[in-house]
Amino acid sequence: MSAANKEIGPPVIELGVMGWLRKNLFSNWYNSLLTIFGLYLLYILIPPLVNWIFLDANFVGSTRDDCTNEGACWIFIQQNIKLIFYGLYPTEELWRINFVYLILLISGVYLLIPNLKHKGWVGAFLLIIFPIICVVMLSGGLGLESVETRLWGGLFLTLVIAGVGIVLSLPIGVMLALGRRSKLPVVSLLCTIFIEIWRGVPLITVLFMASNMFPLFMPEGVNFDKLIRALIGVMFFSAAYLAEVVRGGLQAMPKGQYEASQAVGLTYWRMMALVILPQSLKMVIPAIIGSFIAIFKDTTLVLVIGLFDFLGIIQFVGTNPDWLGFSHEGYVFAAAVFWVFCYAMSWYSQRLEKKLDTGR
């Protein structure tokens, strides 16, 4: 039997390019039809898009009059790049933002390279010292000229809001999730109320409240920075969503893990920090990153309270009389930049999942 079987290979029809095509694209008449329809759609969409973005586009020049070709006028982006990336931040102080980017870039790359030593210290630096550097560098102090937050804008502002929202909302979300599952009824009730209120309100409402209503409750003369109010709103909003994601992870933990931790004498906080959270957060990485991506994109809503984030400023420069009529270029550029950031997060989450996988 074995001698005869060895000579039988897989059916020839499933091998090679033709076999693959046949199996995946033309396995029956309606799949064939869908394949042909799909190809037709690509044919009518892709060439004009490529033409508009690259082949027929204008890349060099300084005014709208240089845009002579039929395609996109990237000169519009190029001429407004400072506004789009940095908002109204004073030009002579831009090095401060770039310096902060540089620190972030260097430590980020360091953390991404496998098998380097002292990663814990770099991480601690990023979480504890780096924020202080940011505040001093960006808003001023210690001899640096103060730059009011109403001048902040563009991609820089988007990164500030998303960054602060993401970094602060995770620990708050974890605490809320633990609180909601607490055996102490008061703690659990308070956390549940907090979570459900923030989740029940649209972000746009939160931002309006932070911007317009909040000052009404404050005593005369007390004035919180508008950006800080928006940051707090975004942070709690995101934390409430994360809390439910984390709670899902906690609920998926087998009871035996709690019992084994207690049996070796770990206290509640050590059990959570060393055994339960590392496992349950790992389980919900995709959902956590999903929340982060959502928050990153939702930062565009701060436009409604008069903060000019990346998308807001692109719309704003589009209303400049010198550059009327180039909103398409603006939106395509905005979409591309948003996609790069969101995809980077998604890529990192997949990498993290693989790295932390130790089987079950």
Binding site: P254, V264, L274, V275, P278, K282, T358, G359
Partner: protein, 245 residues
């Protein structure tokens, strides 16, 4: 052997809702004694040993472990958990940590041992249960028998004075039961105070100082192995023995 009292249970009762799972348990266990608890499922034997390290809370009576009474005071619970090691039916190793880290986690964070010392000690115990060559693997990469031996090593790393075993071989494939029982026999010969919930009657005959038969939350019979198997008094014990032997 000096008869130092390690565990004392006096008139212990526990209910799950309406269900009376422990009904007037009285038990005294001396240092170095090995107790095997058996009985039909639902008889309360697991609940009994889980009460000793407060994985379950008893509702009436007193449980005194090494002179410390178990109360709601978290300090008494912590002190007792430090003295009592436990091995579970489902192993309950921490899947995100290597075997070595599983063993050194509690010594580092609870006993405050320096890392190097804790790992050294963990390797020692892993060697004793003969899986030191697996120390850097994760639990999911080990067989059931190896995982259970790792779980025993993890408990031993806290240098407990009492070891509780909750059906340690029930989740294992038959060919792996012996390797775990061998470790337990070795431990018993070393003088550890042990309470073992198990249906392995061979093990009970070999190491137990006394065998306790439980049914419906009560201790029906407690005897040395010879009398237990040869002259069981109660009808319920006789029926149970006829079913499992």
């Amino acid at each position: 052997m000096s008869s130092e009292l390690m565990i004392e249970m006096k008139n212990v009762h526990k209910w799950f809702g309406e269900l009376h799972v422990l009904n007037d348990i009285n038990l005294e266990i001396n240092k170095g004694e090995k107790i095997v608890i058996c009985g039909p499922s639902g008889s309360g034997k697991s609940t009994l040993i889980r009460c000793i390290n407060r994985l379950e809370e008893h509702q009436r009576g007193n449980i005194i472990v090494e002179g410390t009474e178990l109360t709601n005071d978290s300090r008494s619970i912590e002190r007792i958990r430090g003295e009592v090691g436990m091995v579970f039916q489902q192993f309950n190793l921490f899947p995100h940590l290597s075997i070595l880290d599983n063993c050194s986690l509690a010594p580092i964070w609870v006993r405050k041992l320096p890392k190097a010392e804790a790992k050294e000690k963990a390797m020692e115990y892993l060697k004793r249960v003969q899986i030191d060559d697996q120390a850097h693997k994760y639990p999911a990469q080990l067989s059931g028998g190896q995982q259970q031996r790792a779980a025993i090593a993890r408990a031993l790393c806290m240098e407990p004075r009492i070891m509780l075993f909750d059906e340690p071989t029930s989740a294992l494939d038959p060919e792996m039961i012996k390797e775990v029982l061998d470790v337990m026999v070795g431990l018993a010969q070393g003088g550890m105070t042990m309470i073992v919930v198990t249906h392995e009657m061979g093990f009970a005959k070999e190491v137990a100082d006394s065998i306790i038969f439980m049914d419906e939350g009560q201790i029906v019979e407690a005897k040395n192995p010879k009398d237990f198997f040869d002259n069981p008094e109660s009808e319920r014990t006789k029926t149970f023995l006829s079913q499992i032997l």
